[in-house]
């Protein structure tokens, strides 16, 4: 089953296509894949300073329960769970937002995480350098200039509505190419899969 829909992404002032796919229809909590969610993309680099240009410096907010991008106007509300900008990921908590979202990164395969263990420690966004997720999901290669999602890093998130999500980031480049090239492929486009457990339990089966 496959359907497409369009969301007007106000802060970026352009239209982005999100592709939502559902697999594994037998289980109660479905795994959903989001393709090319923009995390404040740039239009290029300043030739003299090397700094990115064309970016808005604003996060893209996302709500897991209905796979929706939330307007930046609602940044101070509990409407969103997670935010993306460049390679930084924030959760709606602490310094990032007013809600009580929390999370951590678990070393383990997305498909093998069937339950969140009760002794897990959920972290919130304490400071700019002490974020629950931050950049810790990724590995940067200074030679190839490629940022790749570190394999085996599964994000465990408690949403603003108190429900649990497991999530794996699959690609940081537009179109999720098999071997991205920093000179060719546009960065800051997130492709990820996640499972939202609507019944409030910590089980994903």
């Amino acid at each position: 089953m496959k359907k497409s829909f369009f969301v007007l992404f106000v802060s970026l002032l352009f239209i982005v296509a999100c592709d939502k796919t559902t697999n594994d229809p037998s289980s109660t909590a479905k795994s959903i894949t989001i393709k090319d969610l923009p995390g404040d993309p740039t239009t290029g680099f300043d030739q003299t300073t090397g700094m990115p240009i064309g970016d808005s410096k604003k996060f893209t907010f996302f709500r897991f329960s209905d796979s929706t991008i939330i307007s930046n106007a609602d940044s101070a509300t509990a409407k969103w769970d997670i935010g993306f900008r460049s390679s930084t990921i924030i959760l709606n908590s602490g310094i990032s937002g007013p809600a009580t979202a929390a999370g951590f990164i678990q070393n383990g395969l997305y498909s093998e995480i069937k339950e969140i263990s009760n002794d897990s420690i959920f972290k919130t966004d304490v400071s700019a350098t002490n974020l629950a997720i931050g950049k810790n999901w990724s590995t940067y290669n200074a030679q190839t200039l490629i940022l790749s999602p570190t394999p085996g890093k599964t994000l465990i998130i408690k949403c603003s509505d108190g429900k649990y999500v497991k999530m794996e980031i699959l690609s940081y480049y537009k179109g999720a190419p098999a071997s991205p090239n920093a000179m060719v492929n546009a960065a800051r486009y997130y492709t990820f899969r996640y499972t939202y457990q609507a019944d409030g339990s910590k089980k994903f089966e």
Binding site: Q47, L109, S111, A142, Q143, P151, G152, S179, M183
Partner: protein
């Protein structure tokens, strides 16, 4: 204080030696090696894996630089430097920085990021090369972790002229003259070599050459004087100068900048030594080695003519050493030595022009014992005391048993270490453009404290009290082997295992308020290498010489092995983009290690015309390349990693196995002239993206003239 005590002990030792000098013994005229025990010993009786390369072997393949000859030795693999510039030698799976390279027992300094450029060294005046595998810090101290390569130069006691001229493709020329004048026991030797090449270019579409043109000269003088048959004085001096004409592009962020300019290397050494022989086997040697290495590079941007990069580096190494060997009885030999190493470095890489220095005081003791006719025991240790990392013990024990005349077994255990280099201790590097700084560990604490007092540190990743001094990298190793000789067949094997700990890696220390990261060095990594080496050689009807060599190697990061054990190592499928687990059997190991490598060599002398043909096939099995290899003259080196986990595993894109064929034809005329023709890398195998330091086919012609005055 320590030094005085050591000298006092030494004087005491000398008086003991002097009292036992009445004994005499005759030396056998076998193949003799010096490197394994620091005393001349018969090769077949040394309980360590030692390879001996004779001058004849060096000559018959018409090699001119050290790399040519080392590339064709069992268990040695030529690998590119970390930064891709030049090559080094990998021994038992350890990186080039872990093999100590000596000329006449004294170290060659001037390693760039740890690797010694092998093309700096001419082989035209070499008598033999000895390679000891396995850690040898019990005699040589730091850097002898994988082994020791000792280049022993000619020592003539006759009047001799030796001239070599080699011309090769790419305007490469290597010419040398070796002159000796001897009268009685007084000999003078002058050696001069000139090498020049226009370099080569493997990627025509990229600006500049893969290797820029360079030329160098080597001048040497050696004086030997013996008197009363038991005094020997030797003095040698060396001068080397190289000029590089650089012109290439560098990648800076996303831009490429064309740069040009000259680079210079100047290297000199002085080496006086005096030996007094009480008997043939009991002696005392005093020697002092002084050497200096300097580089200077000035690069300018091609378009703007503005300075792009200036680099100045100078290193000095001074080592006085006293050594004495004594045989108390026929079956027991003692060797003792003491010395001091003083090293000085001055470079703009450390943020100022101040001189940094280090001192190491050391002493070693070695005991050789033949309890029974066919048993050989070698044991010893060395203690190094360094101003930075304090004390380091290096023990060694080895045993050899000759079961029959044709069959012998040996086993050895030893430790090795490599002291932190100056860069790791004193670097003070600030790359504002790329947004990071690197501090050597000796500067780290004060630099961080200063930044903290200025409120410039946002976050500290390791506490100040944990910013400790670096320990040396160290290893323990086992070697064991069999030698079997029957008629014209010779088989040698060696099994090895090296466990290396405290490997020094860069570590993120702090985040500055301007969001720049601050790095330093730390003893964090552990690794292992293990394998087996098998060599077989034979002669068929005096005309055909055949040799085959094979090495099986595993080289792995122990922390990765542990992560896989804990199910914590993953890969990402580039197509489905999903993660999966890496199994122990999937993990291949450290970069640039070929599991299989070896060679086949055939030599044949055509009877009637007397032309000797030597063909060598050098094989290297597949291997991976790490993603952090960087750029070479603007060309990005490939990374094997295809599943984003930064380790080399079976899902990665490994470099395919390859073989190089080298050919030489030699013909002697009137015993004084020799003409050689041939080609290295005859099949012209190149791989610009993976191996930019692998040069294409090089045809050559070489003429040798030698004249020895008969007495």
């Amino acid at each position: 204080m320590r030094v005085h005590n050591i000298i006092a002990l030494f004087v005491l030792w000398c008086s003991v030696v002097a009292s036992s000098w009445s004994q005499t013994d005759t030396l056998t005229l076998d193949d003799v090696v010096i490197t394994a025990t620091k005393t001349e010993r018969s090769l077949v009786k040394v309980p360590l894996p030692v390879t001996l390369i004779s001058a004849k072997e060096i000559q018959k393949i018409a090699s001119s630089r050290l790399q040519d000859i080392l590339a064709e030795q069992s268990g040695l693999i030529i690998v590119p430097q970390i930064n891709g510039l030049g090559n080094g030698v990998q021994l038992q799976g350890l990186n080039p920085d872990y093999t100590l390279i000596l000329i006449d027992g004294e170290p060659i300094i001037g390693r760039y990021a740890g690797t010694l450029e092998l093309n700096r060294i001419t082989v035209a005046d070499i008598k033999k090369i000895e390679i000891v595998k396995g850690p040898s810090s019990s005699l040589y101290g730091s850097d002898a972790l994988a082994g020791v390569i000792n280049i022993i130069t000619n020592k003539f006691l006759t009047n001799k002229i030796n001239v070599n001229v080699k011309l090769a493709e790419r305007k490469t020329s290597d010419a040398s003259i070796d002159l000796s004048y001897a009268k009685n026991t007084f000999s003078n030797q002058i050696f001069f070599n000139h090498f020049s090449t226009e370099g080569y270019d493997l990627s025509k579409n990229i600006y500049g050459q893969t290797v820029s043109p360079y030329s160098n000269i080597t001048a040497k003088y050696k004086l030997t004087y013996e008197w009363k048959r038991n005094h020997e004085f030797q003095f040698s001096a060396k001068y080397f100068k190289e000029k590089q004409n650089n012109e290439y592009q560098v990648i800076h962020s996303l831009d490429s900048i064309r740069v040009y300019g000259n680079g210079y290397i100047t290297d000199w050494s002085l080496f006086p030594s005096y030996q007094y022989k009480f008997t043939n086997k009991t002696n005392i040697i005093a020697r002092t080695y002084i050497t200096n290495y300097e580089t200077k590079t000035d690069l300018k941007e091609l378009e703007s003519k503005s300075d792009y990069y200036n680099d100045e580096f100078s290193q000095r190494f001074i080592r006085p050493e006293l050594q004495s060997t004594c045989n108390f009885s026929k079956h027991q030999n003692w060797t003792v030595g003491v010395g001091i190493v003083k090293e000085f470095i001055r470079t703009n890489r450390y943020g100022d022009q101040n001189q940094r220095k280090q001192q190491t005081n050391y002493g070693f003791l070695q005991y050789e014992w033949n309890p029974l006719k066919n048993w050989n025991l070698l044991s010893g240790f060395r203690y190094d005391y360094n101003t930075v990392y304090k004390g380091q013990w290096s023990p060694k024990i080895a045993i050899q048993y000759s079961a029959t005349k044709s069959l012998s077994f040996r086993a050895s255990f030893g430790t090795g270490f490599k002291s932190p280099d100056f860069r790791q201790l004193y670097l003070n590097f600030n790359n504002a453009a790329a947004g990071y700084s690197v501090f050597g560990t000796e500067n780290l604490k004060s630099q961080i404290e200063e930044l903290m007092s200025k409120q410039l540190i946002q976050e500290l990743f390791i506490p100040l009290q944990n910013m400790n001094v670096l320990r040396p990298e160290s290893s323990t190793a086992w070697n064991g082997g069999i030698t079997y000789t029957i008629r014209k067949h010779n088989i040698t094997t060696n099994v090895f295992r090296n466990d290396i700990k405290d490997l020094i890696e860069t570590q993120t220390v702090a985040l500055a308020t301007n969001q720049n990261f601050i790095y330093s060095y730390s003893n964090i990594k552990r690794a292992l290498t293990q394998g087996i080496e098998v060599n077989y050689q034979t002669t068929i009807r005096e005309k055909i010489k055949f040799a085959i060599s094979y090495q099986y190697l595993q080289a792995k990061d122990k922390d990765i092995i542990d992560l896989i054990k804990k199910n914590q190592m993953f890969g990402r499928d580039p197509n489905t983009l999903e993660s999966y687990k890496i199994k122990q059997s999937d993990y291949i190991g450290l970069p640039h290690r070929s599991r299989h490598s070896g060679f086949v060599k055939v030599g044949y002398t055509i009877p009637k015309i007397g032309v000797e043909i030597n063909v060598r096939y050098i094989y290297r099995g597949s291997f991976g390349i790490a993603g952090t290899n960087g750029t070479v003259n603007g060309t990005l080196i490939n990374s094997s990693d295809r599943n984003s986990n930064s380790i080399i595993d079976k899902y990665d894109d490994l470099v395919s196995p390859y073989g190089l064929v080298n050919l030489s034809l030699s013909k002697e005329f009137k015993t004084q002239w020799m003409l050689q023709l041939g080609a290295d890398n005859l099949l012209n195998y190149t791989d610009p993206t993976n191996q930019p330091t692998l040069i294409g086919r090089t045809a050559f012609i070489k003429i040798n003239y030698k004249y020895i005055q008969n007495k």
